[in-house]
Symmetry: C2
Amino acid sequence: MKQMSSRLSMAVHILCLIGTMPAPTGDVIAGSVNTNPVVIRRIMRMLKQAGLIQVRPGVGGSKLLRDPDRITLLDVYHAVDIVEGNSMFGMHEHPNPACPVGRMIAGAMRREFDEAQRAMEQRLSQTTIRRLMDQVGRERAPS
Amino acid sequence: MKQMSSRLSMAVHILCLIGTMPAPTGDVIAGSVNTNPVVIRRIMRMLKQAGLIQVRPGVGGSKLLRDPDRITLLDVYHAVDIVEGNSMFGMHEHPNPACPVGRMIAGAMRREFDEAQRAMEQRLSQTTIRRLMDQVGRERAPS
DNA sequence: CCTTGTTAGAACTAATATGGTTACAACAGG
DNA sequence: CCTGTTGTAACCATATTAGTTCTAACAAGG
């Protein structure tokens, strides 16, 4: 299976940077993430639309619109990793309705997949950007 | 984000069919899943390699190699939905080591993503093929 | 032996998502 | 006005996916 887009990890990286540095520009962020500034801008637009950050056009610089204690990985996930229909599990769409198994299997599977996804999202919602910022700071100290 | 491959849902469908019908051929299965037989064979090869089913070449027909009580959705997931490095969360690969955040963020995120994935897999491991077969049978009865 | 129905799999295609890149417009402050 | 920045469209190379065509191998019945 294909991995999830790395947009989520880049977005978390971006938020941690904005929470740590004073108003970094897109180019500075791109330098830390190590990618093209346009890629950063694309993701920052999604974070903006989700109400997580504010960006000053023209003059540059961005800041968090919410306390990092109140931004969870699930918030970021929803902001940047939108899946059609909100279900990450792809399903074959036209099982044969003439077959009893074909007719009933889709609904039964959907329920199980939804539960599995809910478990993942519940875990993501328990980690905040603050927590990651703290980890970065702590590991940095001993040097 | 792109949805996961529908191989997982097709594989579950296949296993439920094999557990329900007596030795269905690939074409019959393809009829119920409503796709090309080669797609079915591709998935069945993975299920074979995982030791979940046995297929009789030439003469046709397949059967489960394990009691459906002992096949979980996680088993099927592992059989067909292999992700490189076993991590479903893609991460940007070269954060700038010259930046404190860039240097430390990858490990911190990896831990959180792994936990989220574990939560999902744990939930998948709690549902068996038998359970889905039963649901199909039960819902079919009232007709 | 040979016909038939099947599994096995290589090779190819169209559609789609993705990260990256270039180019240019809009904007704000000195 | 000049400069550095954000905003965005357009395009590209790559990879995954489900699907398709085609051919070979195989096993059983006649």
